[in-house]
Symmetry: C2
Subunit: 332 residues, 2 copies
């Protein structure tokens, strides 16, 4: 049988267990030009929360009754498709379901001998691509820049900071709790990490970056964005990648009160969506693979098991109980 997690209702604020419903149905059969993918791992990302809102965005919202959207990786177990053969490892937007019959649109083959499967939905997948293009193309970092990254222990932030280090920047992260901060500085090599749950971010940032920051890569929004704006240098670039602190708001999002710092500093705040860079994913994966081989880029996946445990695992995105890229193994 095929277990599929479907959106049952639109959440207000933090999703609850009954936001989704897990259904069983027969494993789908494939038509000519399709293949059957056994999905082994799905990616859990903060962006999922946004996809559940009935609002105009960069992709259509998941509809009630539809399988929950998610990045996935698995193995082709049956094929009537010329380009995908049985045994291929394939990644794409498979959704939270154990099997999918697809014509392959939006899916591509990867080599799980070069890197473990979960990494292809993490550092070598969307989160890694987001980090790569966000910090290089939007943040436009150059050697000597002072870079601040929020969500520094997360799937995107951890890669952003490491790339900035590779490029010769001074890098300060923010993360929740001493354990994550230790990981960020000691394992990932950031110059400093501010524990926003236990420290005064404004004061600690003044200490860590006394001359201010040139680039802020924002995954969280809220107070940290305001603190960053207060400490940007002339011509600073703020990359708006996400705002996890605001995704479950029941009222209006908190806008950055300090946005006029953009004016004073002739600075820029730019939003990004990784899909825009699809044509260059190959180059990015090649560079990141090289940095990994050289030991300059580390990837950590935090893997949980069981499609039945989707909700508890999803909650970890927002309660902070995870380290690195959150992945759920859904094959049995």
């Amino acid at each position: 049988m095929n277990k599929q997690l479907k959106l049952a209702k639109r959440p207000v604020g933090m999703p609850t267990a009954d936001t989704w419903v897990l259904e069983e149905s027969p494993i789908p059969t494939i038509k000519e030009g399709e293949f059957l993918l056994r999905q082994d791992y799905i990616s859990l990302d903060p962006a999922m929360r946004g996809w559940m809102n009935d609002a105009k965005s960069y992709i259509p919202p998941v509809q009630i009754g539809e399988v929950m959207r998610a990045g996935s990786i698995g193995e082709v177990i049956e094929s009537k498709h010329p380009n995908f053969k049985v045994g291929d490892s394939v990644t794409g937007w498979g959704g939270v379901q154990q099997y999918i019959a697809t014509d392959g649109k939006g899916f591509y083959t990867v080599d799980t001998k070069l890197a473990p499967a979960p990494m292809y939905i993490g550092t070598l997948g969307m989160p890694g691509m987001t980090a790569y293009f966000g910090i290089l193309e939007v943040g436009k970092i150059k050697e000597g820049d002072v870079v601040l990254v929020s969500g520094a222990a997360g799937a995107v932030g951890s890669v952003v900071g490491q790339i900035a280090k590779i490029k010769g920047c001074t890098v300060v992260g923010t993360a929740g709790g001493p354990e994550k901060c230790k990981y960020v500085t000691e394992e990932l090599g950031f110059d400093a990490c501010i524990d926003y749950k236990n420290e005064n971010v404004y004061k600690e940032l003044k200490k860590a970056a006394p001359k201010g920051i040139d680039v802020y890569f924002d995954n969280v929004g809220g107070e940290i964005l305001d603190v960053a704006l207060a400490q940007i240098r002339p011509k600073a670039r703020i990359v708006i990648c996400g705002a996890i602190s605001q995704y479950n708001n029941k009222t209006a999002i908190k806008g950055p009160s300090n946005y006029l710092s953009l004016l004073v500093n002739r600075a820029t705040m730019t939003g990004m969506v990784v899909m825009d860079y699809a044509k260059d994913y190959g180059t990015a994966a090649q560079n990141m693979g090289m940095w990994m081989a050289q030991g300059k880029l580390k990837s950590k996946e935090d893997i949980y098991t069981g499609i039945d445990n989707f909700y508890q695992t999803f909650q970890r995105l927002f309660n902070g109980k995870k380290m690195g890229k959150l992945v759920l193994k859904i094959s049995e």
Copy 2:
């Protein structure tokens, strides 16, 4: 005697009459390498409010006891300077005072036969330059763009919108009251103007720009910025030039709640300060002069008289009782 308006205290919220003090002193004498300028007109600008705050900004704040900073234009009446001779019309940062002895740094000569003196502190001065570089260099308008301009009847906004029309854009303005809106559409040639004091800006903008906006030139901040963010198109550019609705706040500035629209639309919000473009002022003045000669660019100065009336005139920046560039004639 020389009447000088000096900052008496730092205002909280809207300045009051006793924020400044008017003093009289003898007309200054000049040293070798200086000239004496009789200041005829001063420019009144919303930015003055920011210069009064004791905060880090793009220029140092005016100190208590200092002459209030203002752009000015006047005539050289005595000179020991090789480059400025008696009778020259000279503009610069002369401040709110009737006479100034200066070495000429930051001042330059203009030809008041080509355009009337007040225009050199308006459309051919800082406000005009702000409009020119803001919409062209930061807003990066191109033919066919839909452009929204707030403060459309003001010194900067009126020029922004006219330049956008010259460049083949569809231009929508916002202004306070039907009289200003009529001026904006009928005299300045904007395609539409929304009276934010009497109309629902969100609904009217939907009507005026049903497909959304490519560029928003923001002079006001607050609610209109949020409405604009809600209606930007992919790759939109928001130029942050000012936030007059927030300058007299006694509490924190209202940040734009809808800023995540930048992410969804891969859009950019960029702050600007006109001084950065100083080396290209000449080209800009040449182009704007040409557009004026061709009847494509109109300039309106709203001129009041008497340095004694500074405070009442200053209030017009914020109560809306002015049309076009606010100027005070201070020579007697």
